[in-house]
Amino acid sequence: MLIMVFVLWHILAVGVYAIPGDAKDKFSNWTRKTFGNTVRPYILITSQWQQWNLFSPDPLRRVTKYIIEIEEEGRVHVLTTLEPGSIPWWRHATYFKFLGSLLEWHENKEQLIVRFLHAQCAKFDVDAGTSIRLVYNYYIIPKHETVVPVEWWRHFQPDMETWYGTTTTCPSSPV
């Protein structure tokens, strides 16, 4: 009997928690409101949290290259570029997932981005006091309303844009 109750509870909890966060219809809102607070502690404690938004609602279209620049003797030069292909294949997926989440700029994460830049100072043995900054070089894959011919992709030249992110100075002691 206990097993049956547990199975039904788990089915309910997983089903409710997995409802897309972006879904705002009446059923979703009612379900979250009615059961959300009850199932959430169980789902979180057992690490069964889940949102199945891989390549959804639409696949990610922004392609970002992270450029780390330093300023030495009044001149700016590139310390390293983090882009697809610059990391060994066995580390690639996890590392870019980590970078993508970490470096997507948000004021709450400024301290973390600074820590990341300080880690680059230590990795590349940059002198203390050197100015270091993160530059986002990106393009957006166009969204089409209908399928375009293959030739369009073959001749596609992206419009690159640049955004200057966090700037800090290399510390005297490592992170």
């Binding site: 788990h10 199945w52 990610l60 294949w89 989440s101 399928v147 375009v148």
Partner: protein, 465 residues
Amino acid sequence: MVRDNDNMSLLTCMTTPSRLQRILHGIDRFFFRKISAQGFGLMRIGWALTAFLFLLAQWNDITMYYSNEGIIPSDMTGLITRTHHRFTLLHSITEPSAVFTLYLLLLFTLLCSALGIFTRATTILSTILLFSFHERDPYTLGGGDTVLRHLGFLLSIAPCLSAFTLDRAHRQWQKWKRTGMLLPVPHMSIWPWRLLLWQLIIIYGASLWYKSLGDMWWSGTAAVSALHHPTFVRWPLWFMDYLSPFAVFMNFFTLFVHIGWVSLLIPEWLTEPFPRWTWHGSRRRLFLMLGAVFHGSILIIMDAGSFSLAMMAGYAGLLLEEDFALVRNWFSKHWYTLRQAQGDTHITVLYDGRCGFCKRSTFWLTLCDHLHRLKFVNFWNEEERKNAAPNICTEQLNRAMHIVVPSSLQKLQTYSGFDAFRELAAHLPPFWILLPFLYVPGIAPIGRCIYAWIAKRRITPSSSP
């Protein structure tokens, strides 16, 4: 006076279950019907090996991701994730060396779980450690890691984990020594299987729901966009252009697979009145196969972390006894049809019944003989030896293992030593992964030398006539 039809009514009442009893019986069967535990055994191996391999790939980055000397110290995790209802051992274990030690422990327990050594304890411990690493730094996580957490949870609570374990192999050996027979296939109640099925349906259902909130998937333009995102693809963009003509098909095939899995919620009895519109075989099996094609393609084309392998590990957990029987019959159909005219369709393995090592070897071969093709003959039994291999003398048999294989041309082919082992590997599913290597040019002479060295050490005074 009790009349006959009264007796019949009384008997009918006593033997025919009431509606309530039928309902209760149905509920009991829904949760507690016995199924083969082999599916969950395969899932455990797939889960543990997938988690092991992808964590191993993080070897150089462990302290960066998970220790206080990394990018996100534990006092800053509140910036990236919740602080309530969160359990992680790494909240208090923060020193790089301690974190790395815990990581090594996780790798070790995953390997033990895969091999089936102290299976229950190592599976639960590796699940707890996996949760701890995931909760410490969610920024490293992809969909595959989420699937691995769910599978780990289900494996930890499943009532039977003994299938395909070294723990069980030890008990099998004890039984085989005594009786010459193996233990029956392990079984478990169906309720963990139902939870696994529900989880997989939720994955596809929620994903389909999310896709419906956008517009690219339904316009057929999502797949081609993903194929041109350099972060997600394994191959250069110029190569992906060659796949672009197939992108629309891939797009709608993805949606079809999602819808198919959600359709598994519809019970069979609801589809029976519409035979023209429904699949006549098992829908579960159909979508397992289509899903394997789908995730296999993603594994080859895209770099989506552990997602494809984790999902296929989950698929293994849904396999039932009838699926194993179907696969066995499919492999055996051709084999038996071509050899039936010869009478005996088995491969005869002639072994030294006086040699402990040889008896243990035949035990392991029996364990691996999932297609039931082998028959063992102790060559010291003169009558059996003459029936199986009249042209081979005892002295030759004593030097190396011999096998007699009925070929499709109604002949008997004999192999010995390494060649016999290589021939047997083709008939034993656990050895199929080795098969390509056994036929690499140059391997055979090396294999024959190694076999001869082992066989020479095997011959002891007790094994000679």
